[in-house]
């Protein structure tokens, strides 16, 4: 059959996947449409709830890139600090890394026999 990719322990077919997504999706939409009917458009239910605080304007509420995943990088500070320090941008370090790695691999290949 078209699109059947053998992976050794199973198979993958994008076409079957799409058909399945369509079928399951339509079932979900069907169930969803049968559900809660107390929702009404353009009432208070549409407005965001920020613990009673007034909503900020759209322009000032855009989150810029440096704030995204702030907590992630803060939690992994011990990992990130040395890693960023490693990327010095100094050309001497670039060539040193190549030479150090070359020596290590030479030793590994030489010793392994």
């Amino acid at each position: 059959m078209l699109g059947l990719l053998e992976t050794g322990s199973g198979f993958w077919s994008a076409i079957i996947w799409i058909v399945l997504v369509l079928v399951i999706g339509s079932i979900v939409i069907y169930i969803r449409n049968k559900g809660e009917d107390s929702y009404k458009k353009n009432t208070e239910q549409d407005k965001p709830f920020i613990s009673g605080n007034p909503e900020e304007s759209k322009e000032s509420s855009h989150l810029s890139a440096s704030h995204i995943y702030w907590g992630f990088t803060e939690a992994l500070k011990g990992y990130y600090n040395p890693l960023v320090k490693m990327h010095t941008g100094n050309i001497n370090d670039y060539s040193s890394w190549i030479i150090v790695i070359a020596v290590i691999i030479l030793i590994m290949v030489g010793v392994s026999g």
């Binding site: 078209l2 994008a14 322009e59 995204i68 992994l76 990130y80 670039y94 190549i98 290949v109």
Partner: protein, 521 residues
């Protein structure tokens, strides 16, 4: 004269001729330079496809320069070939197809993208030379010629990286760093060539492969070739040039640089599989490559998450994705001496790794082009300053979503197919490696969500009022890559069966490679 015998050389010679004609044409008409380059690369693309069909149906092709017949490898009873030759098997043409597509798309994209710059004749001349260098690295059957093409590619790419260095400092800095590291690598390759030549008096890949003994000197040559070729491919911890060079080059050139570094990756696989094959200690070398892969995947993606420059972020992802290729092929190499494991999961792992090369070139090329489109209209690469661009650039947004979904390995795009092959086969080798690969995939998705949110989503910003969709030729270039990604995603089995599997087999079976040149299987 039968032109179909001369396709291998015409693929390279036509861009080369165009590269030399472009400066002359540029004296008469500036606009014509880009059109000439695009024409030459489109001819090259058509010829590459024709050659691919020929190789996959008939078998590997050789082309001997200056001989009385293109396939005459051993004239007058010689035991070993003396002439320079091209030797193209399924793996070579697989890489050649990537280069042809990427360079053609890059030339189309450059038509409008570079229009404002001066010195366009030099730009197109260098773009064509870079293409020639990358093609040559993939097609050549001669180890010294490989060095020459490597240098051609790196000189052309340095000149292109620092192309905007007239007005800005950073491109010149990136060019300097790339030049120094790539000359080190090229000189080390030349030193290894010297070791081979001193031992065997041979420069031909196939002839060398048939006599190589894995002596102490061969080990030194291998130990020198692995790190420098891995460095050119951007393996951690020698990847520092990658984000510098990729972020400062013009967007179409960045796409070509991805193809160029993959040519170095190809050379690494060629050296390990075709030159040494089972004569080397497959487990050690395999694990070296796997460790390169692990480090590249993980450090690449974690560094990408914290970047603020959109092209630098994508460049770190290029490092991270190269790790998948190292992982897949490394697992294949580690079990090379073990036929049962090779048949069980080794070949599948290599198929995943090799298929990922092509997928990566396509979706990473597309992502760099969308980043270039954002830069073209908004004038900034800083994610902090962007926002709400989806309101103005609808096509670019769609292309970005396709590319980001593909790189994060979301079904049904092509990245998922190759990653699935890698996960399932590597799991049988060592479950831990597979788990790391999946975690990296999740982090990839996370960082592209960040890019999507900060560049495309959000309210309309006042400073981008003038922004509109990019010109039609740039949209066309991105659409070509998107169509390829979707096609590969929907029918991965066609590609794996017809293109990737022959490529993997031509890597694994050394005798097939040497037999094409030396005759007699």
């Amino acid at each position: 004269m039968n032109l179909s015998n001369h396709i291998p050389i015409l693929i390279i010679a036509i861009p080369l001729l165009a590269a030399f004609l472009v400066p002359l044409i540029g004296r008469i008409n500036k606009e014509a330079t880009g059109i000439l380059a695009t024409l030459a690369l489109s001819v090259s693309l058509i010829l590459t496809i024709a050659l691919a069909v020929k190789i996959l149906t008939v078998g590997p092709q050789v082309y001997v320069f200056g001989a009385t017949s293109p396939s005459l490898t051993l004239p007058s009873g010689l035991k070993f070939p003396v002439r320079i030759m091209f030797q193209i098997d399924a793996m070579g043409i697989f890489m050649g197809l990537i280069t042809a597509v990427v360079s053609f798309v890059g030339a189309i994209y450059s038509l409008m993208f570079m229009k404002q710059n001066s010195g366009l004749d030099k730009y197109y001349s260098l773009l064509l030379l870079l293409t020639v260098g990358v093609f040559g690295m993939e097609f050549t059957g001669d180890i010294f010629n490989f060095f020459v093409f490597l240098e051609i590619a790196s000189i052309a790419s340095v000149a292109l990286i620092s192309f905007r260095g007239i007005d800005l400092g950073e491109p010149a800095e990136a060019g300097f760093k790339y030049m120094v590291v790539s000359s080190i690598s090229a000189l080390v390759v030349l030193f290894a060539i010297g070791i081979f030549y001193g031992q065997y008096d041979l420069l031909n890949f196939a002839a060398l492969a048939s006599v190589i003994k894995y002596s102490q000197l061969d080990k030194i040559a291998l130990g020198l070739l692995i790190p420098v070729l891995a460095m050119k491919a951007g393996a951690v911890p020698m990847h520092m040039w990658t984000p510098d060079a990729y972020s400062e080059a013009p967007a179409p050139i960045t796409m070509m640089l991805v193809a160029a570094s993959q040519a170095s990756l190809y050379a690494l696989f060629r050296v390990v599989f075709s030159l040494y094959n089972i004569s080397l200690n497959a487990l050690t070398v395999g694990w070296i490559i796997i460790i390169f892969g692990l480090l590249s995947m993980f450090i690449g993606v974690t560094m990408a998450i914290i970047q603020k420059d959109i092209k630098r972020l994508m460049a770190y992802h290029a490092v991270s994705q190269t790790g998948y290729m190292f992982l897949g092929v490394g697992v294949g190499l580690a079990v090379l001496a073990n036929p049962e494991a090779l048949k069980d999961y080794g070949i599948t792992a290599m198929e995943g790794g090799i298929f990922h090369i092509m997928n990566h070139a396509m979706y990473k090329g597309l992502l760099f082009l969308t980043a270039g489109a954002l830069f073209f209209r908004s004038g900034t690469r800083d994610l902090n300053k962007m926002g709400g661009l989806a309101h103005y650039m609808k096509y670019t947004t769609i292309f970005f979503i396709i590319g980001a979904a593909a790189i994060a390995g979301l079904p049904p795009f092509n990245g998922f197919a190759s990653k699935l092959l890698i996960y399932e086969s590597v799991y049988k080798f060592n479950p831990l490696l597979s788990i790391v690969a999946m975690v990296v995939s999740i982090l990839t998705l996370a960082s592209f969500v960040k890019v999507f949110h900060s560049a495309f989503l959000g309210p309309k910003l006042p400073q981008f009022k003038e922004v509109k969709e990019v010109p039609r030729s740039m949209v066309f270039a991105m659409a070509v890559l998107s169509c390829i990604i979707i096609f590969f995603g929907l029918f991965p089995d066609l590609i794996v069966k017809n293109l990737v599997h022959p490529a993997v087999m031509s890597l694994i079976e050394q005798l097939q490679y040497t037999g094409t040149v030396l005759g007699g299987m």
